[in-house]
Symmetry: D3
Subunit: 328 residues, 6 copies
């Protein structure tokens, strides 16, 4: 047993590859990357920035599939092993009877989380500008869309896997209409997923790799040391944005309080499938599976806004790294 | 009695000047403009975009007073006649015990409204970017600050003077970090002024004088024809923004439904105190007094982001104008 | 008789005021400025950048009248003395049976010129972006619209008052979609006002007051020394554009050859009606009347994109000034 | 015989490779790509966006060869099979005796077309900004340059292969001075290739992959269903432009009327030679060969603004795809 | 005698007007403003941002005179009373035999200072971009130009009136090529006015009125409390820049150490001659006269980049204000 | 012996690979490229834009190592053969007792040069913006930091390897705060490396590959034909900057006089390690070794702001190329 614990269920069939012996990094890539290629569906331009959860005896997920119109849609998919995926050819059609909300514009960058009795999906939802869409499902077949969480303009809305102080809790990044060149992470609460408030500031961009904007990645992982938040940070080079992974530990009860935050990045674009594609130089973490018994963490991330990739870490190693490389 | 009615209290002492006989406009300016000059307070750089309500046997208000640091603050003030004002030398100090909320950054462009049992103030509140601050007062001496209504970035938050479908209701304009060059009006609800949701889109910028951005002005006025919303619309000339007044009628029960909207503007910068100042070419409506008996409406507006001005109209004339000059 | 001659008709009733004795400028303003105020029409936001020609025993013109939607339209008008104007309340409705051309978007900055047997109007015409509209009239009551001269994006199209080498000839300024921050004057020919070609470059922006962009003003005036072209030149200050007048002499037979061009400006915004208005700091020449007997020239120009003004000069003085202050 | 016909000559020696059995796309790439590498000439930095036609018993072409000054020039070249090319070391020197026109600035993105009795070349020609140059040749040795078609600023000028209503006809994209971030396709006519007019709007950018700007690609192909226009469409990602192929069918007699237009793209940058190079993420179609007997179409396109590539399709398949994936 | 002393010569004939009794400001304007109008010279477009020193029994100065080309030049001038000025019609022609330095591009915003045995002029000098020009004169007739102080891009170079630690000392603001939207004040030394080094950072922009950029104004005034530096600070409104006055006290021996700095501004554009002109909303201090006996200070400043103005203060009052309104 | 001579020491162990027989370029790449990979150090994100000199019986260097915070630092390193390097894990810690100078912000793009009795390092040094840092070392273990050479904003400061006219001499490129989109090379002198002056303009950007900005690369190489300056030139494509190599010959005694300058580039990004990485499409020369006996030149350059590469040329060939491809 490790020094630090993931608070959650065991997941025996979590995808896993051992760390290569010559690897000095705290996170290592799958040898099978990209696990989902851009033309996985006959109609897909690219499949990336996608979310995965344990489901029945395997896994289910919600996948960002830009089609050949380059229209942004999310699709459901299923897998026995978390690596080989059957993705539905048709995008999710949400059940919704709220007049303005049901009019679909676009959907991208989903996250999925189990809270209490069902799965919730959040995503960047077009509503006169990007905002956070919310839906729930029991079976990844029927999805029921609720009110949008916030006014535009917002992106990277991520729910906590359990209520905080009796309320649903969400991280998000207020943005603007286009390719926002700024962005902090905020925290908000709701007792009904319809009305949101108690907005708190969590953290702002900071030096170097995370100097332009930051955004929450996978659903926060509960650990003995706090909420483990893997997030993306963006640097503006003279030839555009570069997206990296970082991580932070947030207070378990007041998650807007940051306990530790990595000064170095955890993963940066290096492989060809991360550096070359529709948006060069992007690694974008969107989901994580965890096994509380072994401390294993499997992270799903988008490469170059084009393909879906997998990387691994272990809770002891990652938490230790965050703590010993933290700057607040 | 007029054709159209203001639904509300009479206000016998409403400031008033008759329309000049040669005036062909639906809104006419006070001869006393600017009624509040930029150096009304010894420490003020400018006093503008301010809100006024009936209070006791006279009037009270909340005033945007930029000081000589050019820092943006709001002050309370009192008047017997609505024209001559005693403005407190010190800015409002809000009572607030919410940790992140009570840290003051800046406050500007207030609105004030009586709802049920007290006065509510909303304003553009600095919270890691502009958002909508909310406070209440009974006496314009003590002000109790509540949670911010939304995540940043937002401006021009205006409460309706009564609940809609049992909820508090607010118009606002999602924005970005700086001098936002875009902006639509949205509608949101809350049953506790803490958690907000049910976001609806109301209207977008449109041709010519309102082509860059629009924002709600005074608290909507309830009339027999719908909510009368006076708003500002902005055009981008090759030498910067020009701010105008327009007006719309919104559905009484579903205020996100626009019944009528003026195609021409109602008032544009023409006087020297509107064209010359800290921000040239601005008229910015922020408050309105109404007398239900006579249908008189007195509009307080900022001139050139420098001084406070007064203009008048009459409900019959204004509603008729909106209806007969509407384009949806 | 002067040293230099205007080649054209006498115009005994040309508007005229003598040069003030203390004036050291080559162009002097009318004491009646602005001769047309912004609210000259009940529906007008502003009347400026307008074109005037002798007509019958008085004058006729085409006027840019932005209405209170801030929509840009052109109206016909008539005057006995060139100073006091009756402007039609309704904008010009062009007869046109060319499918795409007849769909009106907007019209601004007109010029009017008599060529051979009729009056031609050119203006900046909205056609999926600004381009040069052309129409003709015999009576300023009926206007017949022809094909647009060029593909978008173009502005400040000005016809020569007679054919050059057997062809109609036009000056124009290729532009882009918005508040174009660049612009040279080009020359083009057509034998039918429908197909245009033989494009020649005339002159580019140059130092200081004309460093951002330049555009032809009134219809070129034929003189013994060449075509006298009054044009506008724009400087970008740290608070926006400043528009000035300049002048050039063009070769009579090959008008794309510049003989002389003023290094100093001729008129710059100094009066309040030029510095304050919808676009501060603009003087924009659009038309000129000339009397070949006396050499008098009356120039109509827009002030601050808001009002119409009049200025005077004399051909001897102006041509002498251009020649002795020229830099090519 | 197919359902849809190419109206034109047979071309037995058209370059051809059968569609790979696992290919689900309507256009497929050559296995020999890039068929012309960047250093094909000892002095070339890159060879791309080039135009090819049948010539004598083989093929001739005009090639964009940026040299190692990165100066943009066009060269003639010859081939027996359309795949292996002899490109002249020296750029084309145009015969021209029109004073301003003959001054060479730069030349890029050529198209070549046979009309009636000779070959015409059009290209983006530097003339105080980009505009459309025109020349003709009988033998690809001597080229005679005519007047530029339009005033600046224009790009992607493409002649129809026969006269429309008795006139030469051209598609083009009005632009601005630099890396234009907008652009619609327009149609214009001329009876002498010198004077141009009757400008008509054809189509504007639209959702997703073609949301920033569009431009005509190869010379339109006459088919039984209308003019088949392959064009490029550009999306602005947060790391720059991405160029795709699309296609449309235009009315045979009034080619500004769009009959059908692909909602999805036809080809997008996926191969390394399309994603990596002087301008990453560009596929830019510039020429097409057709065989009316088999319906085969061979498309020449630029990869990453660096190399020349070849792709194939078949008229039945392509027209069917356009019709069944059209959105107007 | 006051509490604080100016260390310097008495100046009995310093221009002076008593503070109006109702004035609550620490700096008050002259009733004669603008003391130099824009057309003071027959060739001048504007005269502003000019420098004045005691000279013989009166005053001499160097004046920024933009001519009617809008070319920026500096002229010498003389006055008996410091208010009425004779300005030379011709710009200063510098003696200079350094090859690249003697080529004149443009000159603006001069400062003049007496050091040891002569007058030195510094100004913004065009040298492949703006940098700091230096010259000296004994008589304001002959001016000897030295090497430029720094590489481009720099503005607002101001010499101290005596050597610091044995070296000449200069404040300046590194900038960029255009209307720089940023700028800190730095300090540098030289023992020969040719080679410069020991660069120190003095102060950066800060909240509100001085949030965009700051720049040294008049030559620092030596006082018993430190170097009194009057400077300008710029705020970016949504309609452009607004320039204000502020002041700071710098350490007498290590002038890069700031002792005190005003949080509020001292003077902001309010008068028509400050708000309307070639650049609206500018007050720009450039020179100060001081009388050590009375503590009087007369400040010359530019209004709206168009005219020259005069304002007054008194050392006791000003230093007290700085100290009691300081924020470091 | 060649036609042209390198004036300097022989360097028998200069890294060398013969030119491939099919290579037509004047500069050819090492087959070992990249010779230093991005993860050469366990903590490095990238190692590039680095400087190398002969040292003892091998080589020493200063290396730009961005760490995994993406913080920019410079490290010392040693090598026997110039290809295989031991780079210190810790960045250089400079000895410095100048108060403001010793506060480290960031350091990048170093150059190293031997002058008279020691090695000097120059680099882009953060000091309230980028400027030129200077230090010296005898042993690459202890480094003594001097005053910064100039006020911000400056980059690419390169010392000449011997005094010019008795003074130290430096090339540099004045810049602005961010990813400067402009930049000329200037020359400055100092007799003490503390005070700098006699600024001269050397050369400006020019057509095509060097149209956006240029900057000195390796320390100038003294030859019989003048100072051989290898520099970088930048072109702005529609997807960002492209960096190339060029070269010039400067007058030996007045190095601001350009004798010859390549019109074509010498090397452009073509290999994957130059086109793909943190900043795509960058080759950036930073150092050169020379052997006066053989005329061999080995150039160290950065690839894609990610890795360190090596290329070769020979003085005869290179100087001949510059002379015969020069355009001034």
């Amino acid at each position: 047993m490790g020094k630090y614990k993931i608070i959650g269920e065991p997941l025996k069939n979590i995808p896993w590859e051992e760390k290569p012996t010559d690897c000095k990094e705290v996170i290592w890539r799958s040898n099978m990357n990209p696990i989902i290629k851009r033309d996985h569906l006959p109609t897909s331009n690219s499949i990336f920035n996608s979310a995965v959860v344990p489901f029945e005896d395997g896994f289910a997920g919600v996948f960002r599939c830009d089609d050949k119109r380059r229209e942004m849609r999310i699709h459901a998919g299923f897998s026995k092993d978390g690596v080989n995926w059957d993705i539905n050819k048709e995008p999710i059609k949400f059940n919704c009877d709220i007049e303005q909300v049901k009019e679909f514009e676009y959907a991208y960058d989903p996250r999925v989380v189990w809270i209490e009795d069902r799965y919730y999906v959040t995503w960047c939802n077009g509503f006169h500008g990007p905002t956070i869409g919310i839906a729930y499902t029991y079976d990844f077949k029927e999805f029921h869309q609720l009110e949008n969480a916030f006014l535009p303009f917002n992106r990277n809305g991520v729910l906590f896997p359990k209520k905080i102080d009796g309320n649903f809790a969400m991280l998000s990044r207020p943005s603007d209409t286009g390719h926002t060149p700024f962005g902090d992470i905020f925290y908000s609460e709701s007792n009904d997923l319809e009305f949101w408030g108690r907005h708190r500031h969590v953290m702002a961009p900071r030096g170097w790799w995370q100097s332009t904007k930051i955004g929450a990645g996978p659903v926060p992982i509960e650990t003995s040391e706090g909420w483990l938040l893997i997030y993306h940070g963006v640097l503006t080079s003279c030839n555009g944005y570069v997206y990296h992974f970082g991580a932070a530990l947030l207070d378990l009860e007041k998650p807007w309080k940051v306990i530790a935050r990595t000064e170095p990045y955890l993963l940066a674009p290096r492989e060809l499938y991360e550096c070359v594609g529709d948006v060069p130089n992007v690694v974008f973490p969107c989901a994580a599976l965890t096994d509380s018994e072994t401390g294993r963490i499997a992270i799903y991330y988008g490469g170059a806004d084009t393909v879906t990739c997998l990387a691994y870490t272990q809770v002891d190693e990652l938490v230790e790294f965050i703590k010993s490389n933290s700057k607040l």
